[in-house]
Structure formats: structure tokens, C-alpha cells
């Protein structure tokens, strides 16, 4: 099966410090993947590279059926290619309503003139309502995003990603600060989303990862340390040494 995203031999340094060190990692077209690793392992930086925020010093990032390189593309262009990203800190537009947040994310032409002359359509309204239902915010469309609870903001941001109709979703620590029920709901949303696309979830919480029930990649010092089922990787002695042993100590 050909891959959706192939990251090969990527390295990046910040002031001489190698945050990503010859990293190679691939994702299929429909899969759910968890990425775990200690703080500073380079998980967020990996997402920065894929989404065009950080330029790697070397290596390649190849995308899609046409095998195009994402390196050198602008962030907005990469997003248009079908890569959606959720930040570690929830970032929604707090001064705008849930509906406006979702409408902005909806897959529509993105140029200033298309947006200026954009008209509301029934089709778009239907899509917004469908996404809102999916993330449990169907009754909150007219509320300001700033009034939502922390968990709801996280869902709204996931909803914005879904509205973009991306082929790859990069989700950075979605469960941080969530209650147990909220976490369960979040895993359900992510698992459903992964039925039709690739979803990559960075998370610290082992229970959360277990609920995702998917292949796990362990990052350490900017490179892949182990890959496989959760039970397989956590029984790996090197993983226990660098991550679990330390984090759980």
C-alpha cells in the first residue's frame, strides 16, 4: 500500500541542539497512530515540520498519491493540500461564535476575493451542523467560543479540523486538561475520524492511548525509538528506560 505521508531522514537543529535527529516515519491513508515520548522528544517539532512551520535542515517529506514534497510549501498551502493540525494549547477564535469558527474552517475557496464575496449556503449550513453534532456542540452554535469549557474548546478545534476535510489530521495532546468523560468522548471522535483518513495523535496519557487502541510510535531525542502495539512498545526495555521508567518514577 502506498503511503499518505513519508517522512525520511529528517533532521533539524535549534542553535546547535538537534531537536529532530534523522527521523523517518510513515503514515497510511486510513490509520490511527499515537505518538508518545517524553517531554522534549520532538513530537511538536515533528508536526511543525510536516505543517511547514519549521524548515528541516535535511531529509524529505513526501505527500499523497502524486508524491509531492511538502518542503518549501507555505503553511496555508500545506493546509490546502489536506493536512489539518490541532495545537497543543487549544486555539479557537474566542471572540467569534462556534458557527463562525466552523464556517471559517469549512472546505471552501480560501482566497481573499472568494471569501469577500462568499455567501452562506444551505449546503454549508448542513455541514456545519453535522460537524457540530459530531463534536457535541450542536446546541452551542451561537455561543461565543470564548464561553466554552476547556474540553469544549478542544472539541471545537477538532471540529474545525474535521470541517477542513483533511486527509491527515495531526492532533497535539488533545486530552490535556480534560476530565475522564471528556477523554472518552475525545477518543471516540478521533477513532471515528480515523475511519476515513489518517489521524496522528500525540499524547502523554497512557490510558488515553490505550483507548485509542492503535499502533504506537515512541519518539526519543528526535528519532523513533520503537514502533508497534502499545503492549509491545511498553515492554521494550529501551522504552522503559528512557520514558516509562522515568515518567512513572
Amino acid at each position: 500500500m502506498s503511503m499518505l505521508l513519508e517522512v525520511d531522514g529528517v533532521s533539524v537543529s535549534f542553535d546547535g541542539f538537534r531537536a529532530i535527529n534523522n527521523l523517518s516515519i510513515n503514515f497510511g491513508k486510513t490509520e490511527l497512530r499515537a505518538i508518545i515520548g517524553p517531554n522534549g522528544a520532538g513530537k511538536t517539532t515533528f508536526m511543525d515540520i510536516v505543517t511547514g512551520k519549521t524548515k528541516p535542515d535535511e531529509g524529505s517529506v513526501i505527500w499523497g498519491d502524486m508524491n509531492i514534497s511538502l518542503l518549501g510549501m507555505s503553511e496555508s498551502r500545506i493546509a490546502m493540500e489536506g493536512i489539518g493540525r490541532k495545537f497543543q494549547k487549544p486555539t479557537v477564535f474566542e471572540a467569534q461564535t462556534v458557527r463562525q469558527n466552523l464556517a471559517m474552517a469549512l472546505k471552501n475557496p480560501r482566497g481573499p476575493f472568494a471569501v469577500l464575496t462568499h455567501r452562506k449556503t444551505a449546503e454549508n449550513a448542513r455541514k456545519i451542523e453535522a460537524v457540530a453534532a459530531e463534536i457535541g456542540l450542536a446546541d452551542s452554535l451561537t455561543r461565543l467560543a470564548g464561553e466554552l469549557s476547556h474540553g469544549q474548546k478542544q472539541w471545537l478545534e477538532i471540529g474545525m479540523l474535521l470541517a477542513q476535510e483533511p486527509r491527515l489530521l495531526l492532533v497535539d495532546e488533545p486530552a490535556a486538561g480534560m476530565t475522564v468523560e471528556e477523554r472518552e468522548k475525545t477518543t471516540d471522535i478521533l477513532r471515528r475520524a480515523a475511519q476515513t483518513r489518517a489521524v496522528v495523535v500525540v499524547e502523554h496519557d497512557m490510558e488515553f492511548v490505550r483507548r485509542l487502541d492503535c499502533k504506537v510510535t515512541v519518539l526519543h531525542e528526535g528519532a523513533v525509538l520503537a514502533e508497534g502495539s502499545l503492549d509491545y512498545v511498553i515492554s521494550n526495555p529501551r522504552v522503559i528506560e528512557v520514558y516509562l521508567g522515568r515518567a512513572d518514577a
Binding site: 505543517t51 512551520k53 507555505s74 503553511e75 496555508s76 498551502r77 493546509a79 490546502m80 489539518g84 493540525r85 495545537f87 486555539t91 479557537v92 477564535f93 474566542e94 471572540a95 467569534q96 463562525q100 464556517a103 471559517m104 474552517a105 480560501r110 482566497g111 481573499p112 471569501v115 469577500l116 462568499h118 455567501r119 451561537t142 474545525m160 477542513q164
Partner: protein, 388 residues
């Protein structure tokens, strides 16, 4: 579509209504109607105030809505003024020159006419040659085109360079201020071709309307300014409503998020920067015929800072707030600095408002920023309940 736009923005209708009543009221009380309660010079003050309101809403769109604290929009205003001023000065001088030469026995050659006009205009800077930038000064149409083209192009080029390099926040403000300063310093030079620190004068005399009284002209410009403000208000209200408004406000609140949603943020900033620059140019072109004179001091960076102060006091992120701020502060400013406000004798010291007005304005700005971040316009939130 029109219906939904108005329905979703009832404040636009209220604004147009208020502006319409104000314009009719001023006209009815002016010397033109015969009532004369409002003097011609005060009609000019009010007309200029409307132009300042127009640039204030442009500033609000670029700063209050899009988050770009431009300290350069008064430069665009000044360019608009210079562009129209060149035609006004040229055409009027031409009329005077032709009249004085018409008494000569031998008809003057075109070169002689041109030299005479050049002498009149550029004598103050010790020159009589027409600089290149005056090439189109004889054409009202072309100079009016310059009113929109030059601010538009300057904003486009400057904005493209700045936004492309991702200059944001205070660095961008400094950059825009540097642009303004450079332009102002350039214009101060005698060989800039725009009469150095003399600037352009006599702009209140409109060629072709020599027989028309200033009372009538002042009302004509007042109404034109009112119309321009109305049109600008509706235009900007339309731009910042709907999806464009969402994206622009999104850029203000979290640029990166907008970018990762797939929007090319730089294009949006450039769009907003450029259209607001053009509207600022138009506002300037209407302002200076009412002021009568323009000089490089008008473009000095401080003017653009005042502009930001008006918008902050009036309330950022709402167009009527910018109008209130600009109207109130500019009127108060001309009252205080024009000797209207009585000096306060403290016995040991006399507070002379022409000197102390700026201090008062500074304190008001600090007070508003600290205690009423929504500005005067924020008071309307208490009057109008948001429909849920």
C-alpha cells in the same frame, strides 16, 4: 443579500440615519441656507472632521479588526491631499497667469505660460522648472486617479515586503512609522518638487468656481465628505461582516491558527492594508481643499499616532467607535488649541490649554486604555442587548 447584510448590521442603518440628520442639520443652519448659525469656517471644521472620521474607520479596520497597528496611514491621507492639491494649485495659478498675460500685445508662447506658472508655484523654493511629478498636474482626472493609485501602490509594495517577511506587532508599527517619517522628511526638502516646507496652499480656491462663495463651497465639500464617510462606512461594514470579517478578526486574534486553516494570511493583510490606504487617500483628498493648505508637517509620524489614539478612545473593533473617537477628539482638539477653552488660573500657575491639551489627551488615552479598553463605543454594549 443586501437585506441580510443590513439585517445583521443594524448599526449601519443607525449610523447612516445619524449622519444624514447631521448633514441636513448643518446645511440648514449654515450661511448657505441664510440662517447662518453655523459659520462657514465652522462648516469647514465639521467637514474636515468627517474626513478624519473616514480615515479613522480605515484605521479601525486595519488595526481594530485586523490587528495591524499601522502608524503610517496619515501618510496615505497626506498623499491624497498632495495629489489633489497639485491640480488645485496648478489650475488656479494657470488661470491667474493666463489672465495677466492676456494684456500683452504679443500672445505668449506655451513655454512662456509654463515658465510663468512654474515661477509662481516654485518661486518660494527658488526654482521655476516643473519637476517630473507635476507632469499630470494639469489634469484633474489624472490627479484624482493618483489619489487612489499612489496610496494603493505604496501600501501594496510596502505591505508586500513587510508581510511577506512576517514582520508583525511592534516591529511592523515601527516600520510603518519609519515609512511616514521618510516621506515627511523627503517632502520637507526644497528639491522634493512639492515646495518643501511651504507645502501647497490656496487649496480652498477651486478652479472654475471663482465666482462661487466660500460659504457654498464649504457646504459642497462638507456634503461630499459626508457622502464619502457614508460610502466608506457601508463598504467597510460589508468587508468586516460575514466570512471576510471572521478571517480578518481571526488574523488579529491568532494569525497562526488562520494560517493552518489554509488561509494565506499575508494576502489578507495586504488586502486590508491596501484598501484602507486607498480610503485614507480619498479622505485626505477631501480634507485639504477644506483646510486650504497642506505641508509636510501634516504627514509627520505624530499625526498617525493621533489617529491610533482617536480609534483607541472611540473603541477599537467597531466602526462607529472610530467615528465617535475621531469626531470627539478632533473637535475637542480644535476647541482647546484654538483658544476656545478658557485658561485656568491656579494662582501660582495658569493652565494654558494650547499647551496642556496634549497632556490631557495623553492622560485620557492612558485612562481609556487602562479602564475602558473598549473605549467610548463600548458604552453602547450597555444600551443594546446582544441578540442571542
Amino acid at each position: 443579500m443586501k437585506n441580510t447584510f443590513i439585517a445583521q448590521n443594524p448599526s449601519v442603518l443607525w449610523f447612516l440615519l445619524a449622519l444624514g440628520l447631521f448633514s441636513i442639520g448643518v446645511t440648514a443652519l449654515s450661511e448657505v441656507s441664510g440662517v447662518g448659525v453655523i459659520s462657514t469656517s465652522f462648516v469647514k471644521v465639521l467637514g474636515k472632521m468627517l474626513c478624519l472620521c473616514l480615515i479613522a474607520i480605515a484605521m479601525d479596520v486595519v488595526w481594530g479588526y485586523c490587528g495591524i497597528l499601522s502608524l503610517g496611514h496619515f501618510a496615505f491621507f497626506g498623499i491624497g491631499g498632495y495629489a489633489v492639491g497639485m491640480w488645485l494649485m496648478y489650475a488656479r495659478t494657470e488661470g491667474i497667469v493666463l489672465e495677466s498675460l492676456s494684456t500683452q500685445v504679443i500672445p505668449p508662447t506655451p513655454q512662456e505660460i509654463s515658465d510663468a506658472i512654474g515661477n509662481q508655484i516654485f518661486g518660494v523654493v527658488g526654482s521655476s522648472d516643473f519637476p517630473m511629478i507635476w507632469s499630470f498636474a494639469d489634469s484633474l482626472f489624472l490627479q484624482l486617479l493618483m489619489v487612489v493609485l499612489i496610496p494603493g501602490l505604496l501600501a501594496l509594495v510596502f505591505g508586500w515586503l513587510a508581510f511577506r517577511s512576517r514582520v508583525t506587532g511592534v516591529y511592523l508599527s515601527i516600520l510603518t512609522q519609519a515609512m511616514t517619517l521618510a516621506l515627511s522628511l523627503y517632502l520637507f526638502q526644497n528639491d522634493s518638487g512639492l515646495r518643501g516646507n511651504n507645502g501647497l496652499s490656496g487649496l480652498q480656491n477651486i478652479p472654475g468656481f471663482e465666482a462661487t462663495s466660500q460659504a457654498t463651497l464649504s457646504i459642497a465639500f462638507f456634503l461630499a465628505s459626508s457622502f464619502a464617510l457614508a460610502a466608506g462606512y457601508v463598504f467597510f461594514a460589508w468587508v468586516v461582516s460575514g466570512k471576510m470579517g471572521s478571517v480578518v478578526k481571526g488574523i488579529r486574534d491568532n494569525e497562526a491558527r488562520v494560517r493552518f486553516l489554509g488561509y494565506h494570511v499575508e494576502s489578507y493583510k495586504l488586502f486590508v492594508f491596501t484598501i484602507t490606504a486607498i480610503v485614507s487617500g480619498i479622505a485626505g483628498a477631501l480634507y485639504y481643499p477644506q483646510a486650504g493648505i497642506i505641508n509636510p508637517g501634516e504627514i509627520a509620524p505624530i499625526a498617525s499616532i493621533y489617529l491610533a489614539v482617536w480609534v483607541a478612545i472611540g473603541g477599537r473593533g467597531r466602526l462607529y467607535g472610530a467615528v465617535i473617537g475621531a469626531a470627539l477628539v478632533s473637535l475637542l482638539s480644535s476647541w482647546f488649541t484654538g483658544g476656545g477653552a478658557p485658561n485656568i488660573n491656579l494662582g501660582f500657575y495658569t493652565v494654558n490649554w494650547t499647551d496642556w491639551w496634549l497632556v490631557l489627551l495623553g492622560f485620557s488615552f492612558v485612562a481609556v486604555t487602562l479602564f475602558f479598553p473598549k473605549g467610548i463605543g463600548g458604552l453602547f454594549d450597555y444600551l443594546v442587548r446582544k441578540p442571542q
